[in-house]
């Protein structure tokens, strides 16, 4: 059983509190992704789990045992570094076998395990080479191989794909997913790339400013973001945000007043908010459509991407452009033309002043 439990984890650098109280449960065999912008603390947290950083307060349990002060090598954890950190003076085989050598595993067994891991990663023919004779992708496999060989309970990945080019990244993503299926081990993966997070993670933890914004499956996070930050972080292009005010209620849907004065219904509960309250309306680009009636906008930039066209529009009263995804086959309006935008109330989100999402009503939930 390789579960990971974090309770009240905090990290202080001098007077600076950078990790502000993390509670998290990771089950055995899960592939968990820590995602967030630079500086949000995801890497720091990973390193605390690894044992490379002190935990200022809180408890870390691996497999039910508290291991705050335990040496990294004794935690049953292996880490793949962003820079791979392959020992430059050792061959691939020596790199992969180093930990086992330190653990005084018999030479024959080391050779066996190294060979098996190398074959699984298709680098068996590179065992006698030194890291500088390898390509980036090959080095990355060696780094992964070094971790596999140790048969750890938990794998830690620190932005392992960020040094690869786009094509290699996509391919390696697939291979990592495959690796997880094969080994079935618990994996904690840190990235700033939300595409990696969405495709690899069984469970995603969104970090911001040292705190967890939301934990959930990719679907949950995408379709039911708990706040504006999560809503804006996942999804490309970003969710469009329009400042609106609460006009009233209509049945179990809220009615909001848009900047141009028109009103629209949103399948979200207004709760205890009074009419006139400042809210923010969130609409993903794929949920906005060019219609014959709706609120007015002027077309700015049109980006043709092949399967989809992005139409960037300017809406009076809204800073910046909104993005509308138009799928191929649909008409792409000319720049400068006036259009009307419409949306399905069940696909819209409302966020209050603090950024928290207003709970979706049953209509909303049913639409999902």
């Amino acid at each position: 059983m390789a579960s990971v439990r974090l309770r009240g984890i905090e990290k202080r650098y001098g007077d600076n509190l950078v990790i502000k109280g993390i509670d998290l449960d990771i089950e055995d065999g899960q592939f968990v992704v820590f995602v967030g912008p630079s500086g949000c603390g995801k890497s720091t947290l990973l390193r605390m789990i690894a044992g490379l950083e002190d935990i200022s307060s809180g408890t870390l349990e691996l497999d039910g045992k508290v291991c705050n002060g335990v040496e990294p090598a004794k935690r049953g954890i292996a880490m793949v570094f962003q820079s791979y950190a392959l020992y430059p003076h050792m061959t691939v085989a020596e790199n992969m076998g180093f930990a086992l050598k330190l653990a005084k595993v018999p030479q024959a067994e080391i050779g066996e395990r190294v060979r098996r891991a190398a074959d699984a990663l298709q680098i068996g023919h590179l065992l006698e080479r030194k890291p500088k004779a390898l390509s980036g992708g090959q080095r990355q496999r060696v780094a992964i191989g070094r971790a596999i060989v140790r048969k750890p309970e938990v794998f830690l990945f620190d932005e392992p794909l960020s040094n690869l080019d786009a094509a290699l990244r996509a391919q390696t993503r697939v291979e990592l997913a495959h690796l997880h299926r094969e080994l079935g081990s618990t994996m904690i993966y840190v990235t700033h790339d939300q595409v990696e997070a969405m495709t690899l993670g069984q469970k995603i933890v969104v970090f911001n400013g040292g705190r967890i914004e939301q934990v959930g499956t990719p679907l949950e996070l995408y379709e039911r973001p708990a706040n504006l930050f999560v809503a804006g972080f996942l999804g490309s292009p970003r969710m469009n945000v329009i400042p609106v005010t609460l006009a009233g209620e209509e049945g179990d849907a809220a009615v909001v007043r848009l900047p141009d004065g028109s009103t629209a219904a949103v399948a979200a509960g207004a709760g205890r908010l009074a009419p006139g309250a400042a809210l923010r309306l969130g609409l993903r680009p794929e949920h906005l459509r060019l219609a014959s009636t709706g609120f007015g906008a002027t077309v700015g930039l049109v980006e043709y991407l092949g399967d989809v066209t992005l139409v960037h529009v300017q809406v009076p009263g809204v800073d910046g452009m909104l993005a509308v995804k138009v799928y191929s086959g649909g008409p792409a309006p000319a720049s400068g033309s006036r259009v009307a935008l419409a949306f399905d109330p069940a696909r819209a989100y409302l966020f209050d002043e603090s950024g928290a999402a207003l709970s979706s009503t049953t209509a909303h939930a049913a639409a999902l």
């Binding site: 650098y13 390193r47 605390m48 044992g51 490379l52 950083e53 002190d54 935990i55 040496e71 990294p72």
Partner: protein, 299 residues
Amino acid sequence: MQRAESSIAAATGSPRREGLPALLLLAPFLAAFILFFLVPAFETFWLSLTESSLTRTNGFVGLANYATLVQDPSFWDALGNTFYFALLTVIPLTAIGLLMAMLVNHFVRAQGWLQGVFFLPFVLPISVMTLIADWMLQPSSGVINHILGGQRPWLADPSWALPAVAIGTVWWTVGFNMLLFLAGLRNIPAEQYEAAALDGASGWTLFRHITWPALRPVTTTALILQLIASLKVFGQTYILTSGGPFNTTRVTLHYMYETAFTQSDAGYAAAIAMAFVAVVILLSLLQVWLVRYLARRDA
């Protein structure tokens, strides 16, 4: 840096647990450092306040040694000789070193040879230099007199002894300055020269407006390092001229040595040492200040 520091601390559990491996790793150095540097350093200071021989300490005398020092003509003579020697060597060492560096930098194909010829003397023991210098400066059979004519006994001539030693020292140590300047030259980005060449500059103009200003920090460093090294001169004058003729080549350290080992006056010698250290420290600080001042002025 913070990350690096705390990570190792965490790796072994706590900063306290890192103290033990750190102690083990530092112990040999610390032992040697304390025994052969720290203790002698304090002892020099303490000795200077006592009346002592090489083997016995006779009594505390406070600042008496220093009082004597200030009024001791031999000391000031020795100090004067030392500064004179420094004057004789520092400028040639810097100028020739710079010239050599520029030549080595320019003639890339001959670089190994050229650099080797200029630097080789620096790796030789001092007594090799003194033996050869002594031979070359012989009044009747020495090659110098053969070239210049005459029978002048350079090392026995009070006006020429120190300059002769200085010239020998320049031959011996200029290679090091060359290295410093070479490193400095190589740090000048090629683009600066290219841009200037496009503007039509060449030769002397290039040197004056690009090379020389860019070399200012290195030049300052080289000057001060040479100055301090010149102040520490001892071997050459001791071996070649034994401090003579008529004490014209007796430098500060030589005077200290004589006081300690010939006159067995360890206390007074220690005072000389302390005075010497003060001068060296002063000049080192001067270098730091000068480099910073120049850097700020250029910024």
